[in-house]
Symmetry: C2
Subunit: 113 residues, 2 copies
């Protein structure tokens, strides 16, 4: 089965990549829901957050910290931003390769969906 | 300055605590936005995700993994759930002690706020 985010991670499809780390890639969401909407993915194919092992705590933390770093670089740290991770259908997950959303540039309302 | 989530972490205020780990506490959000709405906080006072250091990647990962574990225990892993972390005003942060929201029990719409 092909996976669109594996294709992004491995450079087989075009994406507006912001940063590439050893085990992570950050790029712009093509269906932006805010003036700035980025995604951070692990290069390794992990379908959902349910599939993460206890050993992966550092990987997950690094995903959040990379999103935070990009928000800061782009000048959204003071104003703020929202980080979101969807799991399965009720969570609104549409691509089954783990990804963290970071949304900025507008006020994010509550509830979060 | 008093902090309501430090009070929860240190048992100075009542909260419906679900789990306590060495460095984390999980409890129910009193302003639930879904049938199940939990919060995971570090016991240590960290105002926002901007204040987290690179060394804290494991701590952040553990927050996500604890939320995941509770969602699984409560039977929401298959149906799904949404994890959210708000930073500063645009992100909708209201309590300035780092916290991760986990929402389940209903379909979460898009955009996430």
């Amino acid at each position: 089965m092909s996976c669109i985010f594996c294709d992004v991670a491995e450079g087989r499809t075009s994406a507006r990549i912001i940063r590439e780390a050893d085990d992570l890639v950050a790029f712009y969401d093509i269906n932006a829901q805010a003036p700035v909407h980025i995604l951070v993915i692990p290069k390794r194919h992990i379908p959902t957050i349910n599939d993460v092992k206890a050993d992966d705590a550092v990987l997950i933390g690094k995903m959040v910290l990379l999103a935070r770093e990009i928000m800061e670089e782009q000048g959204y740290d003071r104003k703020g931003y929202r980080l979101v991770m969807n799991c399965n259908n009720d969570g609104g997950q549409t691509v089954y390769h783990l990804h963290l959303h970071a949304l900025a540039g507008r006020w994010m309302s509550w509830p979060p969906g």
